[in-house]
């Protein structure tokens, strides 16, 4: 599903070079739930940007669903993001003053899906994340946990190859965090591939596999301690 080999990302600011990623290689299979952990400045955000087709690597290849994403144009990247990647952000990033339904249907607008179909799919997805009674609420009328559920429904809208979650529980209470993580686990059981960036080991514990990143390199890989669930 995801095949990353010898990936490097170097930022050049004037004469200063910053190596954010240094020869990183790993792969993620279809249906896996992987957590990427590391302290801030470790390069995990850069890694997420490249996996999320928001950025391209300086060196190396990134193959998503059999397609080399590392050398695509801006518009092609936009299409990859639309069709193959479902984003869940730390700060939700819902459109303000817009209903949950419209927020969920936003990627489908860019995917060129007709309006009627969009609305049906969005309703179905909101039901799936347990928000059937909040469909016409605007973002400001929802709690943090509810907003993140809307965001997860939105991530699922285009049936993406992977769901990419960046600190999905960073801005919500711990009780709601557990609900969100259980939702991710359910999605995995339904066959979705999930890549989650986090720095909390308690959150990473919900994943099947953990990739530890430090100083732009993969430090180690491991499985979470059992009995945590």
């Amino acid at each position: 599903m995801i095949d990353v080999s010898h990936l490097s990302k170097i930022y050049k600011m004037d004469t200063v070079q910053t190596i954010a990623l240094d020869d990183v290689s790993f792969s993620i299979d279809k249906g896996e739930f992987v957590a990427v952990m590391g302290p801030s400045g470790s390069g995990k955000s850069t890694l997420m940007h490249i996996i999320g087709a928001l950025d391209t690597p300086t060196k190396g290849t990134y193959i998503l669903d059999g397609e080399d994403v590392s050398k695509l144009s801006k518009d092609q990247l936009a299409e990859i993001r639309n069709k193959k990647i479902g984003f869940v952000f730390q700060s939700f990033n819902l459109l303000p003053r817009t209903t949950a339904l419209k927020n969920v249907s936003l990627p489908m607008i860019y995917g060129g899906i007709p309006k009627k179909e969009r609305m049906e799919k969005a309703k179905m997805l909101l039901k799936q994340v347990g928000l059937e009674d909040r469909m016409t609420h605007t973002s400001s009328q929802l709690s943090g946990g509810q907003m993140q559920r809307v965001a997860i429904a939105r991530a699922l809208a285009m049936n993406p190859s992977i769901i990419l979650a960046d600190e999905p529980t960073g801005n919500i209470s711990s009780a709601q965090s557990n609900e969100i993580m259980c939702l991710f686990q359910n999605l995995q059981k339904q066959g979705h591939t999930i890549v989650m960036i986090t720095h909390e080991s308690s959150v990473a514990a919900y994943a099947q596999r953990i990739i530890y990143v430090k100083d732009g390199k993969i430090e180690k890989e491991g499985t979470p301690k059992k009995g945590k669930k």
């Binding site: 999320g52 518009d75 936009a78 993001r81 639309n82 936003l106 607008i109 860019y110 309006k115």
Partner: protein, 405 residues
């Protein structure tokens, strides 16, 4: 995203900040409004001037004496006294096919009194031909007749303005007025031709031409000779016929030396329309500047909007919006802003020009072309000034935009 949805979402985005949207629009409303008002006022005054000139008479040609030369010094045009009644009679008795009627005229201002009232107005010595050459119709009574002219009678035909000034509107036929203290009997009143100021054709008194020369002004020349051409196509022929006849009579061999000039109504009309055309263009130019300022206002607001919606733009791009889609979204917003502003400005312009033209008693002249132009221009401004902010939005990196606080 189809077109209707695009427009819908643009409207929603604009309605989120009503005050800002209204202020941005105001620049365009004022710009388009002033373009339409000023252009239609310009056209109205140009039309009114043309109607006035046309009402001077159909196919009108006027012979004026040229500048006098005395010892090489050229004096003002019209200062010469070379045209006489005999010149006029000569043109008349030549019976040119190109000329239908000839009207010699003596025109000066004089002081008029009637009882306790008095006024200073244009007194014109005329022959009966004047009425048909200058399209004068009678409201009551009759115009100057041949008997009045040859009999040196002290009779006068007055314009409606004179009736108002001297008699307060009461019918003055048969009454006596004094021109330079000499009594004249009023025999008729002309129909109003309109006009204001210098060109007021109602503030006028007609008397027999020989009476005017001998009794009032003490001169033996005429101030101008008017002719009506047989038809609009014979204007040039009439000009040549009368011109060469006068050259021969005045014993002048070259046209350049002529001591008179002949100009047609078309010449005056042409000069007048070129003046009013320049005037209208000037006004439109001034209004266009305010339109430009309005456009810059739109650009300003759109730039602020783009910055404010940085996160939203980043999100949309992360969810798969291509650069072109983002450009279209913001362009549609600014075009809607300017077109709605343009329509409001159009309404404002129409209302304003109707009000102003009624105050200036001008005919309202709102041309469809100026309205279409204004709406087209406002749409164009939307594209022109919306382009830069829209490009700026599309060029944002989604990562940077999502990080923006």
């Amino acid at each position: 995203m189809d077109f209707i949805e695009l427009v819908q979402s643009a409207f929603e985005a604009l309605l989120l900040n009503k005050m800002r949207t209204a202020l941005a629009m105001l620049g365009i409303v004022i710009g388009i409004g002033s373009v339409i008002t000023l252009v239609s006022l310009g056209q109205a005054s140009s039309q009114s001037i043309q109607t006035q000139i046309q009402s001077l008479g159909a196919n009108l040609l006027t012979i004026s004496p040229g500048a006098q030369r005395s010892g090489g010094v050229r004096e003002a045009a019209g200062s010469n006294t070379t045209l006489t009644l005999e010149d006029s009679n000569a043109i008349d008795s030549a019976h040119f096919a190109s000329i239908s009627k000839v009207s010699p005229e003596v025109s000066r201002r004089a002081q008029i009194t009637a009882g306790r009232n008095n006024t200073n107005t244009q007194v014109i010595g005329v022959t009966p031909n004047y009425a048909s050459v200058h399209s004068i119709s009678m409201q009551s009574g009759s115009f100057i007749t041949t008997q009045d002219v040859t009999g040196l009678k002290n009779v006068a035909v007055v314009g409606p303005q004179v009736v108002t000034d001297l008699f307060g509107g009461a019918n003055p036929t048969g009454q006596t007025i004094r021109i330079n203290k000499i009594p004249f009997t009023i025999i008729g009143i002309t129909v109003s031709k309109g006009g204001t100021g210098f060109s007021n054709q109602d503030d006028i008194i007609f008397i027999p031409i020989i009476t005017a020369q001998k009794t009032i002004f003490g001169i033996d020349y005429v101030t101008s000779i008017s002719m009506s051409a047989a038809n609009p196509n014979s204007m040039t022929q009439a000009q040549n016929d009368a011109g060469y006849l006068l050259l021969a009579r005045h014993k002048i061999s070259s046209v350049a030396q002529a001591d008179f000039s002949i100009f047609s109504q078309a010449d005056i009309l042409g000069a007048a329309s070129s003046v009013t055309g320049t005037f209208t263009a000037l006004l439109a130019g001034i209004a266009a500047i305010s339109l430009l300022v309005g456009g810059i206002g739109i650009m300003n607001i759109m730039l602020v909007t783009v910055i404010e919606r940085t996160r939203e733009i980043g999100l949309r791009k992360a969810l798969g919006a291509k650069d072109g889609t983002v450009v279209t979204q913001f362009l549609v917003e600014s075009i809607i802003l300017t077109i709605v502003g343009g329509i409001l400005g159009m309404i404002l312009g129409i209302v304003l020009s109707l009000i102003i033209s009624s105050f200036l008693s001008l005919p309202p002249a709102i041309s469809i072309s100026s309205i279409l132009l204004a709406v087209g221009i406002s749409g164009g401004i939307g594209i022109l000034f919306g382009w830069y902010p829209a490009r700026k939005a599309a060029n944002m990196s989604p990562i940077e935009a999502l990080r923006y606080e």
